[in-house]
Subunit: 204 residues, 4 copies
Amino acid sequence: MKPIEMGHPASADKYQRILDAAVEVIAERGYFNSPVSAIAARAGVADGTIYLYFKNKDDVLRTAIDRTFGQFHEQVEERFKTVTDVRGQLEEIARMHLESAAVNRNMAILMQTEMRQSAKFIAEFSHKHLVRYIQVVREVVRRGQQEGIFRRDVSDGVVAHCLFGAIDELLSSAVFTGREYDAKATAAQVIDVVLNGIGTVGSG
Amino acid sequence: MKPIEMGHPASADKYQRILDAAVEVIAERGYFNSPVSAIAARAGVADGTIYLYFKNKDDVLRTAIDRTFGQFHEQVEERFKTVTDVRGQLEEIARMHLESAAVNRNMAILMQTEMRQSAKFIAEFSHKHLVRYIQVVREVVRRGQQEGIFRRDVSDGVVAHCLFGAIDELLSSAVFTGREYDAKATAAQVIDVVLNGIGTVGSG
Amino acid sequence: MKPIEMGHPASADKYQRILDAAVEVIAERGYFNSPVSAIAARAGVADGTIYLYFKNKDDVLRTAIDRTFGQFHEQVEERFKTVTDVRGQLEEIARMHLESAAVNRNMAILMQTEMRQSAKFIAEFSHKHLVRYIQVVREVVRRGQQEGIFRRDVSDGVVAHCLFGAIDELLSSAVFTGREYDAKATAAQVIDVVLNGIGTVGSG
Amino acid sequence: MKPIEMGHPASADKYQRILDAAVEVIAERGYFNSPVSAIAARAGVADGTIYLYFKNKDDVLRTAIDRTFGQFHEQVEERFKTVTDVRGQLEEIARMHLESAAVNRNMAILMQTEMRQSAKFIAEFSHKHLVRYIQVVREVVRRGQQEGIFRRDVSDGVVAHCLFGAIDELLSSAVFTGREYDAKATAAQVIDVVLNGIGTVGSG
DNA sequence: CATGAATGAGCGTTCATTCAT
DNA sequence: GATGAATGAACGCTCATTCAT
């Protein structure tokens, strides 16, 4: 609403403060155990204020997740301009995925929990985002197959899901145990496993 | 499947009916949109009856999940008595994982969704089950490494998570899209990818 | 729900107690100024109990009014079996209208106030009841015209509305000033005015 | 119609616009479903501006009704200067009543609905206006009785209420069904009914 | 054991009103 | 004067849980 952000400490960007508060509170307690009043309190605004910025409680969560995915996809696009080889691209995606979760651990928790909810409104928009992510991976894999770098006897879809699943599960485990990790090294490891396999020569 | 119930001798039937109803209803509507009264109605008992068998609503879900994991682990143990080679064991785990989800799709939905509720819930309860699962895989991997069948330069933990994540994600995708799959073939594919990698010779 | 009413003083017919409380409270404060909690408190039940007996707040008001009109129409039908002359019937309707308001003054207030509300849900079902009432009067008037007892040069509809309006307004005035009245005498007066007019001979 | 406003010299315009907007919006949606913000929007002013001109939301409605009644009574007084016979005066009141409702249908809706809100509101405020109206009619009737034109054996109060009620109910019916009517002709009909009665000679 | 009526805390949301600008 | 962002009390309604029968 106010185009020029002036940095007033107290009244500054309530919109963002509400989003941050929501991510924090929901990561801690879960969406359905997070009353709007708790989010408002954390953001330092009145309950009603939430509804000046968002249509309803759903909308807050949706917006927070949408923005995170939006940023992630922007990053990926940007990065793909300079890294163009398939293996590099897969490593970059894995790294950015792991890194963004390390940067915003609350959001990572949210992704690991609330996005899997079967509650209709969550399921619908979450699915959309995941599908898009998988799609990106899938296209890289397909290109790798065309270039003869990847085997053609496994479906690109299966590979994409395996890759995403592997990364996501490593992340999940780190998030829930509170373990720290090196995004770049971990990314390299996953890609190594999926590209080269864990079998010693001749085991296949 | 119908062992002699301990502690609910006369009413093992109702106990089980409530669990089944809970899984059904929660899979359809989500935990927070499933009133106890809906579960009771589906089970054909009075609302209050649920509290004769379970401490509270959480307890019903928790028990349902516990039992499913329990059965899964029993199956795995049983199977490992006859299948002893590492590759075979990994394939069996993957197959049983995918198969049990196909057999009881409602429970599969629950695992993909409600099991990953709020950080608290997953941290305190679900995580325990996943850790145990991962542990089993990990031991197989470790044995493979000792036997020289698997590379020793990647951590068994990472491999275990990658394997579990890959299977789980394929499953998740199938559950959400409603796609049918052949558990054995799909299991073979995943194991193939993770053991042999997707890179063509020399790409690694 | 309990077919045989056993007269337990405390738990007896909550349904009726809620209806009575609603009529009381709404008569005092108006529908929109009567929180469900106030109705529940007056009825001596918990807020949630209202929803065991009624779909929602609207439903309580609607039911109360429906029942009153239902009883009124039953009375009218019953009475018309023995009183068959048109003048007598008009007097009976007027008397019963005024009497039922005297018997249940709160309901009378409700009719004079809440039934005129433009709020959609009220307007719709109120209109239905009023139309039915007018219709009954109209038919009596029409019969009087056919029998040559009433003038044929004024529309039955206009006469019906005049009659209803006259009675209703006398009632309204009595209700709001708290004045007592003799239903039979008042009814006779109204009918006298509308049948014979107030003009002295030759004034028309 | 645009006298020089006292007390709001520069902003008579906004004052009136708010009143008009309130009448419009409340007629459409009902008082309790008309947020102040909706009235402000319709008037083309900010929400807060309403509170510069009116004490609160109630005050806006009250003022709108007050002014309408004021204008009506001015009209009646003015008209009574030239029409002095009792029958003529009754016809004029009825006509003006019906006409003003036809001219400003929104206000008519308000009178038929919102004016009759909760007992308190009507008792304390609206009733005053109705009493004044009735009083005027009553005096005309009384004069008619003194002049021997009207019967003396029916109370002037009863007659006044009958007359007002009849007109009001005809109006109400027209408003709710959206029917158009000829104010003068309708007024004549009502007066005819009440003065001459509907009975044929000898029926009384 | 089993019931289901009853409870009441707690939720998401609205909106009359205020007040810093 | 005029604004409209902000407030927070209040609402209608749900539902996990209890307990008299």
